[in-house]
């Protein structure tokens, strides 16, 4: 028996990255802007998507992939808005992986404008998995506290956009908006930051403008 040392230098998540890159390429060729939403459970991802659906529906085509450990509840809420939605039930897994999105891929209509992926509620694990998105958004809700960016750096350093949600609760809670924004920008100076309240319909239009502008840029690049 002979002992051998072999230099491998392979990324552990290399196969996920490869699948994600294929998904991104195919979606972008079709001119579809894909947005991956990350956050803790209960920070308002589905409610935000409901408001976005109401506002985009007259002029744009969107669809949603929902990731949850159990139940079809979120997909049902989106379908109730007249938007196509697929539910991925991970059965215990704390994040979505690119191959799960890949399974749905053949069903995604080619004439979409926006594909939203609502990740499993978790501010840690989903940050390690590229799903083929063009934009990654992390949500931070007022009740979670303004100290979260530094406590969960990976989600914020890998995101393009920070959406602060439930700002209608600011008068009731000791959340320092400036502090949260400052710390998030220290982690990632390129973050676009939006402050929103789905309940009061505040800041959602600005967020949608950002998505539309990014969609136009993507299509200009394709043209």
């Amino acid at each position: 028996m002979e002992k051998k040392e072999i230099l491998v230098l392979e990324e552990l998540l290399g196969s996920n990255k490869k699948i994600a890159a294929e998904i991104r390429k195919k979606l972008e060729e079709k001119g579809i802007l894909t947005i991956n939403l990350l956050s803790s459970p209960g920070s308002g991802k589905t409610t935000l998507l409901e408001r976005i659906a109401e506002k985009l529906k007259p002029d744009y085509r969107m669809a949603v992939i929902e990731g949850d450990i159990e139940t079809e509840r979120d997909a049902e809420r989106i379908r109730a808005k007249g938007i196509p939605a697929w539910q991925i039930i991970t059965g215990g897994a704390c994040h979505l992986e690119a191959k799960m999105v890949g399974k749905i891929f053949p069903e995604i209509p080619a004439d979409l404008d926006f594909l939203f992926i609502e990740n499993v509620g978790n501010l840690v694990c989903p940050a390690s998995y590229d799903l083929g998105e063009r934009i990654r958004c992390t949500l931070l809700s007022i009740p979670e506290g303004d100290d979260k960016p530094k406590k969960y750096p990976k989600a914020f350093t890998t995101s393009d956009c920070l959406i602060i949600t439930k700002t209608d609760l600011l008068p009731a809670l000791p959340f320092n908006l400036e502090h949260a924004q400052k710390e998030a920008l220290e982690l990632n100076p390129k973050l676009s930051i939006f402050t929103t309240s789905a309940l009061k319909d505040a800041g959602i239009d600005e967020l949608i403008e950002y998505f539309i502008a990014t969609l136009l840029k993507l299509r200009q690049k394709n043209a």
Binding site: M1, K3, K4, I6, L9, E10, E97, S128, K154, P189
Partner: protein
């Protein structure tokens, strides 16, 4: 706690490499884990020791090199180790920093018995 699914991906690569080299055993596995890789080395080790049973690497030792976050300032050229993840240059206050290391999650090398 996604370390177990990361270890599952690791074993896919290990089995492929063992087959390729016609190895009978893998005796050592060396990983590089960045401070901003999103993975906890201790959990990775626990998951590895659970997963390795009845595989080609069931006697393998796992070595993990923890890599700190290292950035380079694109303005003044300073190379800095960042333990606070604040992406601001300590020398010139620039926010234009390039990450050199610390986000990796890499299988660096393995030891085989052929």
């Amino acid at each position: 706690m996604h370390e177990l699914s990361i270890v599952a991906s690791l074993f896919e690569i290990l089995e492929e490499k063992a087959k390729e080299k016609k190895a009978e055993k893998i005796t050592s596995v060396k990983l590089k884990v960045g401070a901003l890789s999103g993975v906890v080395p201790e959990f990775l080790e626990t998951a590895f020791n659970i997963y390795k049973k009845d595989t080609i690497a069931d006697e393998a030792e796992l070595k993990i090199e923890e890599v700190p976050l290292k950035v380079k300032c694109e303005k003044c050229g300073a190379e800095i180790i960042k333990n606070d993840y604040v992406f601001i240059c300590e020398k010139c206050d620039s926010r234009e920093l390039k990450t050199l290391a610390g986000t990796e999650l890499l299988l660096e090398k393995i030891e085989l018995e052929v």
